[in-house]
């Protein structure tokens, strides 16, 4: 027995508890004695055991209300149970060295501050991942997808979004559009993509690019642009989305946001996930503002390199921004391509240095054919 030196309170070494033999569900009352090198257990049936601390593991008694449970042996072990957590504190006092690996009830008071810290860290990490981690990861992943996969993906999406029967297929218009694309892509040299432009018979003023080289213009937009330069501007912008793989990046962002949400909700199969999933989809597959600016910048450079007048892109955006007499719903292009004053200002700065004698994107006849593509088909 350890002696008391007067100043220090003698540890309580005898505890009432229970013993489970691991063979029957019978709880035997037991006296457990704390020794410097192990536990001495005396059961109500008169059995006496000595358990060295090194052979004991603690499996319960970490949280308020749990009894302390110590087990010895392999898979189906014997166990002793002591109701009071003070038992653990005394164990640490009696056997500080071998007892160090057991839980100390004093540690529990750190839990509240630790929980708060963890919560703050989680919020910080999630915010940082959402703001920087996921976009960076999406860019990295998008860059490694083979072009053939991109084309497959784009093909499938094209069938959904612009089914053949809803396309305007007037041959003269299609030829003129091809001419425009060839003129625009000439400065790019060899790219892995085959660009194709479709006109969809739908009223909104909008355009979108799909992975793998498909660009879809909606009838509303084709009828709304005033000059071939404006159309060339829109196309140059959309081609940049293809070249920079923005759609793939958006897809990867979408998927990793899903993983993040799954990590936050305790049960990824629960009903919450469905609610959150809906919210996620709403914001999904819209390009980020950064992607739009990249496309603007790259588009303007492409127009310059092709010897075209880049002001068409600016004037089209400005014209849409002014709105005016249009019925609502026509300005969809702005809702998916957010226009900001600074976006136009930046574009103006880039397009300040323009070719003195710009080339016309298409001839007058081709321009007319494009403008009336859907009318002729109908």
């Amino acid at each position: 027995m350890m002696g008391s030196d007067g100043a220090v309170r003698a540890p309580r070494t005898e505890w009432e508890g229970a013993y489970l033999d691991g063979r029957t569900p019978t709880r035997q009352r037991a006296t457990i004695r704390l020794m410097p090198s192990g536990l001495e257990i005396l059961t109500e049936r008169g059995a006496r055991f000595f358990w060295p601390y090194a052979q004991i593991r603690q499996t319960q008694g970490f949280y308020a209300g749990e009894p302390v449970r110590l087990e010895r042996g392999a898979e189906l072990s014997e166990a002793v149970l002591v109701g009071s957590p003070a038992f653990l504190a005394e164990l640490h006092a009696v056997a500080p060295e071998p007892g160090a690996r057991f839980h100390h009830p004093a540690r529990r008071r750190h839990r509240v501050p630790l929980t708060i810290l963890a919560a703050i860290a989680v919020v910080g990490i999630v915010a940082a991942l959402y703001r920087w981690g996921i976009p960076a990861l999406a860019e990295l992943a998008a860059a490694r997808v083979p072009v053939a996969w991109e084309e497959g993906l784009g093909e499938a999406a094209l069938g959904e979004l612009a089914p053949p029967e809803r396309r305007c297929t007037d041959p003269a218009g299609a030829r003129a559009l091809d001419t425009l694309v060839v003129a625009l892509t000439r400065p790019l040299g060899a790219t892995p993509y085959t660009f194709r432009v479709y006109v969809l018979d739908a009223p909104p003023v909008n355009a979108f690019a799909l992975p793998g080289g498909h660009v879809v213009l909606l009838r509303g937009l084709v009828e709304r642009v005033r000059t071939p330069e404006e159309l060339a501007g829109v196309l140059a912008h959309e081609l940049q989305h293809v070249l920079r793989r923005h759609a793939l990046r958006a897809l990867f962002r979408h998927a990793s946001t899903g993983l993040l949400i799954a990590a936050l909700a305790g049960d990824p199969t629960g009903a919450v996930t469905y609610g959150l999933e809906a919210a996620r989809t709403l914001g999904a597959l819209q390009y980020t503002r950064e992607a739009e600016e990249e496309a603007d910048l790259g588009g303007a450079r492409l127009l310059l390199a092709a010897g075209l007048d880049p002001r068409g892109l600016v004037s089209f955006l400005e014209e849409l921004g002014e709105g005016g007499t249009d019925p609502p719903g026509v300005l969809t292009y702005l809702s998916t391509h957010p226009s900001h004053a600074d976006r136009i200002a930046r574009l103006r700065a880039i397009t300040a240095e323009r070719p003195t004698t710009p080339v016309a994107p298409v001839d007058a006849e081709g321009w007319q054919a494009i403008r009336t593509m859907c009318a002729r088909a109908g």
Partner: protein, 379 residues
């Protein structure tokens, strides 16, 4: 939380406790608290993020261990013996065996621009694989969970062969389809029976003496009540819709309102009535299953009501949605307390006659169960 605390367990005050006199009515008590579980959960989330997901399995074990350790019967706590390592290993194995074929079958054909014949064949194979996968997974998960759970040092176990459950599943699904659902109550009773009578505590087996016919009657009754309630609600909705449409056309003859079927807007009116019928039926079914479940000479008894079940589910859903899932620990605590509040076990337990008889811990289904532990919560 709005739920009241469960009655204090007789043994909670008497820590050293002797077994309560047998032949009494016993209850399970849950002592866990929402804030503590939240602390565990948020640390799990943090570590899962920091380890790129690997810690997920250890976190899951910590939560389950806490829930078991806070559950008490006759003054003694349950214990959970699973480890994160085995859960991770099981998940990896299952991902290899099932995950990869599923992923390939699901994504490759459209990518390879396969013909429609190949695509529908792949879809069929995928469907069959999932159909096999679900019952095998359910058995695996139950086997894993029970084998890792103990009370007073004695392990639970599950000894039902997956093949038998697969047979029940395939036959049951087909017959339910062929009989237009009439067979479904029989199918459900068979599933419950299989899951119950193959469960053991040590050497003692659980039993089920419910009859499929009783369940069929219950189902028919539920369909009848639901039909009447839909009919009544439809009449009310139609009346409101007629009034609204008349008002709309009186106000402006060109209004698009009467081009649109107004009752579409009134559809949510069906939710409270159908929800109430569903809750009433679920509670009745739950009571039936528990009241026919036995453990030796002792019988379970449930007094759960539809109203209470409806309230629990509704409040849980609102809590989760409003907090974007952060209330998950409180919802879990509420649900566990709820489950135990209405459940008793009456009759002699004769614990002395029970021996330890744990089943092989690394059973064949363990890999799968580990994987399924992630996706399915059917235990």
């Amino acid at each position: 939380m709005t739920e009241s605390d469960p009655p204090e367990s007789p043994a909670a005050s008497e820590a050293a406790g002797r077994p309560a006199p047998q032949g009494d009515t016993q209850r399970l008590y849950f002592h866990g608290s929402g804030p503590t579980l939240f602390g565990i959960h948020i640390v799990n989330v943090l570590l899962t993020l920091l380890t790129l997901g690997v810690y997920y399995f250890w976190g899951k074990i910590r939560v389950r261990r806490y829930l078991m350790n806070q559950t008490e019967l006759l003054g003694d706590r349950f214990a959970f013996h699973g480890t994160g390592k085995e859960l991770l290993r099981g998940w990896l194995k299952a991902a290899l065996v099932f995950g990869i074929p599923l992923l390939l079958l699901g994504t490759l054909p459209p990518f390879l621009e396969a013909g429609p014949g190949v695509q529908s064949l792949a879809a069929l194979a995928l469907y069959c694989l999932v159909q096999v996968f679900i019952p095998v997974a359910m058995v695996g998960a139950r086997r894993y969970r029970l084998s890792r759970t103990s009370w007073r040092g004695i392990r639970f176990s599950f000894r039902g062969p997956a093949v038998e459950f697969l047979r029940i599943f395939i036959v049951g699904s087909l017959l339910s389809l062929l009989t237009l659902g009439l067979y479904y109550p029989f199918f459900e009773a068979q599933r419950y029976r299989f899951m119950t009578v193959n469960a053991y505590f040590g050497t003692r087996r659980f039993g089920f003496d419910g009859r499929s016919q009783d369940l069929l009657v219950l189902y028919l009754l539920a369909v009848l009540v639901a039909g009447v309630s839909v009919l009544v609600t439809s009449v009310v909705v139609a009346a409101i819709a007629a009034v609204l449409a008349a008002a709309a056309s009186a106000l402006s003859p060109d209004s698009p309102l009467h081009a649109l079927p107004v009752y579409v807007l009134l559809f949510p009116l069906f939710l409270p009535t159908l929800g109430a019928v569903w809750a009433w039926f679920s509670a009745k079914k739950l009571r039936y299953f528990w009241d026919h479940t036995v453990f030796g000479d002792a019988r379970f008894r449930s007094t759960v009501t539809g109203r209470a079940l409806f309230r629990l589910r509704l409040v849980n859903l609102v809590l989760l949605v409003l907090t974007l899932g952060l209330a998950w620990p409180w919802v879990t605590v509420r649900s566990t307390r709820f489950a135990f509040r209405y459940l008793t076990l009456a009759g002699p337990l004769d614990l002395e006659t029970i021996q330890q008889e744990a089943q092989e811990a690394t059973a064949m289904g363990e890999g799968l169960s580990g994987f399924l532990d992630v996706g399915f919560d059917l235990g």
